[in-house]
Amino acid sequence: MQKIWTIAKKELRSFFDSLMAYVMLVLFLGFTGFFTWMPSGQDIFLINQATMQPFFGIAYWTLFFFVPLLTMRGIAEEKRSGTLELLLTKPVTDWQFVTGKFLSTLMLIGIALLLTIPYYITISRLGPIDHGAVIAGYTGLLLMSSAYIGIGIFASSVSRNQIVAVLLALLIGIFFHIIFDILARGVSGITGEVLHYLSISTHFESLSRGVIDTKDLIYFLSITFLGLLGSVSILSKRSLSDA
């Protein structure tokens, strides 16, 4: 546990040292702020309700794009520079390493979401707000991010090229994000239901409406877990690809 924390701390620091974190925070706050507050066709003044729905809607998309950009460096760069090989001769297990990377990215997303608390405070002054829905919505964003971080870390462990990592993460992500949902609409029966269940939007929507269901929790945590498991198993096979 101590070692996971050590790795997470170091990774979080390197996000800030490399300016990556600042750029990401500014862009995230810029995008979500613009679409929540400025006249953009779905801002809260147009909706005329004290609700965080516009913010959750836009964060749903921004995070989808930002998370792979944050995770792409993680393992691919360590593979390329050789630091991975050195680190894995130190008393750290593959799980500790991967979990540390995961936590650091999740913490950065957490910081980004914390910085949007002023939106919540402002909106709650404008009218009666459903506090439960806000908490559930934030929970949903965090869970969704962790699923995408899992996928992103997996993609990053596949290649030593960061571009490949980000594209692969987006490719896998887009299926969960939207394609499964679109397919589900056209297919009926058991296949349709499975596709519907696999879509992230199904689970995210029920969360952002204020319903925290264990079914949704299990869904997000399984994707996260599978992503991390995938990258651990790739790391444990490293001996085969080493030249």
Binding site: K10, L86, T89
Partner: protein, 309 residues
Amino acid sequence: MDIVVENLTKKYGAQRAVDNISFTVRTGEVLGFLGPNGAGKTTTMKAITTSFAPSSGDVRIGDISVTENPEEVKTRIGYLPESNPLYTEMPVIDYLYYVAEIHGIPKKNREERILEMVDICGLEGEKHKLISELSKGYRQRVGLAQALIHDPEVLILDEPTTGLDPNQIVEIRELIKRIGREKTVILSSHILAEVEATCDRILIINKGKIVADGTAEELRKSAQGNEILHVGIEGPDKDQLFNALKEIPSVESVDFLDSKNGYIEIIAANGMSSRKEVFNLCVKNNWELTAMIPIETKLEDVFRNVTMK
């Protein structure tokens, strides 16, 4: 803590990078690991440091096997890879702190240990710089500091002195020797003089197999065939000298290196020395002996001999 390598084999596809090698390194011994590029040096080192599992065979550090208990082995070894990978975006001191934490050095000793490493590796003036700002020599020192920070019982160094200037090389060699007194060290290098200066024993591998094993002295002896002398004699003309030398029973062949100055290479018959007879011949005929240089087999020759086959 001894390192015992037993029938270690590592295959990449059909190719055997390391082919069934076995050797032991004892505590307090510095082993020099030599071999041409691609001979399997790095592969062997990686197997010892648990970078990958061997295809067959085993490596034991003390009683601990790298295949059965790699986690335990990791706490006892320090490793400096050939490419010396570092997190270049980190300051030196932060990086060492990170490695110390990874090794689980208790918080109360951590600071002290890091400063000790900074001192030993001569990083005092650079400790707050980013690693990316350091020259190659200083990066190498950071790599060494990272390998030594947890006071490992076994140290594996893959070409530790590449990129260092001559002063630094001497310092690092001294450091390795000092460490080698209590610990077990394996170091690989292309520089034969370096291996000779730092190592107690030399192991040469070629195409994945051990081709020579012993102290520098032993290797030279085993490779040395007949005694070779370079002799300068002034006085007689060429033919006279040649015939006179040929008549000495212990001389097998005579060859003029430089006929004008009478500079000759004399190879003695197997197991014999011709030095005395050559000297006596000159005294008897009143010739001037201007030079007599016994030619030793150099480690380079030994190396070429065993790896060119």
